[in-house]
């Protein structure tokens, strides 16, 4: 009951924190898509490079986010950005790489070789083949990778409150330091709802982007 009153009294603040949170996640995932998708496509050309890149990506995933923020502080202090928005975005982007790169790589690799050979045999250039055939067919799996990245990032960004990046994690960090259950529950609830909403929105997108022909075959 108390929590409910707290929430109702602090709606504008919750809204503001949500906007901060979404901004960090979307900028990070946006950059991760811009770098991860081309990287995922590029590494399909060489098995060895692919193994190395995916291995490095997995290593990044094993670093606890709080430790990664710690590492970033001295590095980014040199440009006066040790804490706050920038390290949060960078850390989130690093965590988003693996799911996006791995899904892109797998999806492109799994395109039926017969389709590739038909596309080349009909006179498509490499980029035409990529944009007209391989990427459209791989798109649902790539978006699935983005979904995973977004959900991971919503969690990572919650921790970023500890380095002053703002976002919904602020309620949790304050709730802990002030032993205030109301703020703790508010933060947790808002994060959970945000993650679920983002997941469903991207699932909808993933279904929409599934080529009609491929969808029915899968179903």
């Amino acid at each position: 009951m108390e929590t409910l009153t707290f929430i109702l009294h602090n709606l504008p603040a919750i809204g503001e924190r949500t906007v901060e949170h979404v901004s960090i996640v979307s900028v990070a995932v946006g950059f991760a898509i811009l770098t991860g998708v081309p990287l995922g496509i590029a590494i399909t050309q060489s098995q060895r490079t692919a193994d190395t890149v995916l291995y490095l990506g997995s290593i990044v995933m094993t670093i606890p986010s709080i430790a990664l923020f710690g590492v970033l502080i001295p590095l980014l202090s040199k440009i006066g950005q040790g804490i706050g928005y920038l390290p949060a975005v960078i850390a989130a982007m690093l965590y988003a790489q693996l799911p996006i790169v791995r899904n892109t790589y797998t999806a492109i690799r799994n395109v039926d070789p017969a389709l590739r050979s038909a596309a080349i045999g009909m006179g498509m250039s490499t980029s035409q083949r990529l944009f007209r055939v391989e990427i459209p067919i791989a798109l649902p799996v790539i978006i699935a990778g983005v979904r995973i990245a977004v959900v991971i990032n919503i969690g990572v960004t919650a921790i970023a409150a500890y380095i002053g990046a703002g976002g919904l994690g602020t309620f949790i960090s304050r709730g802990i330091s002030q032993t205030d259950v109301r703020q703790l529950i508010t933060g947790a609830l808002a994060l959970a709802l945000l993650a679920i909403a983002a997941d469903y929105a991207l699932l909808w997108l993933q279904r929409r982007m599934t080529p009609k022909g491929a969808a029915a075959r899968a179903g």
């Binding site: 038909a118 080349i120 045999g121 006179g123 055939v133 080529p211 009609k212």
Partner: protein
């Protein structure tokens, strides 16, 4: 017209690498259908893929209409050559119309023209355009998908068509139907077709000329009737089978063996048409126990007679390139 000159492909390997295709030379006339035939691994598919340069030749040349294809940009070259593969390879993210429109789009045709062309091709391949244009490939049966695959290869009206076991994945009943449709279509389109097959019956049915391969070498290049009647060596004889005489019957017509009607021709003998092949003639000889058949035209007029002797004589003297098994020009 396509000419292969000492075309060779050697895949490098640790022990030096044997030639997958070894100095293959032959020539396919414009409008002819040439079937590349042989057991798996004999180099027929590699040979085909060197023509549209999906495989780069180690040495040797391919000329299309006198033009050396190694001097042409491979991407441009492929847009002028229709390509059909066994797995069909229809793009699942595109409708039938869009699949057929792939090459026209690469050639920057406008939309209405692409649509008209797709309608025209589907109609030609016995698929109702209104029903199929907007379907996706997964909504097609195997036979329908293979027809769309052929339509897609023909979309930009290329003079040359390469077909890599195009009907291999279709069930036997539908295969016969599609083969017949293709033959009928080819009669009016007169494309220069190179067709890979491992099926001697398909080759005899479809080909103006057959190129038979073994271990990367061209063993014999001849019209079906000559190949069956005069195999160049034991390998070819073994590959075409001990029933090769029976296979020849398909490609010889009544018109080839009939003689002018004479007064003595039996009025009650069974009748055949000049376009019937000798399978029908032999069947009638055996079933009816007769030695002579009457040949009547579409109007029922007697135009000739076919005797057992004439058939035997024809089979004993294989055609040498100018015979009925040879390309129709």
């Amino acid at each position: 017209m396509i000419r292969l000159e000492a075309l060779t492909k050697i895949y490098p390997s640790s022990h030096g690498g044997a030639a997958s295709v070894d100095r293959v030379s032959f020539e396919v006339g414009a409008g002819e259908t040439c079937v590349l035939l042989g057991p798996s691994g004999c180099g027929k598919t590699t040979t085909l893929r060197m023509i549209n340069r999906l495989v780069a030749p180690t040495s040797g040349k391919v000329f299309i209409d006198g033009r050396d294809t190694s001097a042409v940009d491979p991407v441009e070259l492929r847009r002028t050559i229709g390509y059909v593969i066994q797995q069909i390879g229809l793009f699942p993210n595109m409708t039938v119309a869009e699949n057929i429109g792939v090459v026209p789009r690469l050639l920057n045709w406008d939309r209405p023209r692409m649509r008209r062309r797709a309608e025209e091709l589907l109609a030609m391949l016995a698929l109702e355009p209104a029903e199929f244009l907007d379907r996706y490939p997964n909504e097609l049966s195997g036979g329908q998908a293979q027809r769309v695959g052929v339509a897609r290869a023909l979309a930009a009206d290329p003079p040359v068509l390469l077909m890599d076991e195009p009907f291999g994945a279709v069930d036997p009943v539908n295969r016969e139907v599609i083969q017949d449709e293709f033959l009928r279509m080819q009669k009016s389109l007169r494309k220069t077709v190179l067709f890979v097959s491992h099926d001697i019956d398909e080759a005899v049915k479809m080909a103006d000329r057959i190129a038979i391969f073994r271990a990367g070498r061209l063993e014999q290049y001849a019209a079906p009737d000559e190949l069956l009647g005069r195999p160049a060596n034991d390998f070819v004889a073994g590959f075409v089978g001990s029933d090769r005489t029976l296979k020849r019957l398909r490609r010889i017509t009544v018109g080839d063996v009939m003689s002018p009607p004479d007064a003595a021709s039996a009025p009650d003998a069974p009748a055949v048409a000049p376009g019937d092949d000798l399978r029908r003639v032999v069947t009638l000889f055996l079933e009816r126990g007769v030695d002579v058949l009457r040949c009547v035209d579409a109007g029922g007029r007697l135009v000739g007679v076919v005797t057992r002797k004439a058939v035997a004589a024809r089979l004993a003297a294989p055609a040498n390139g100018n015979g009925p098994g040879a390309p129709l020009r």
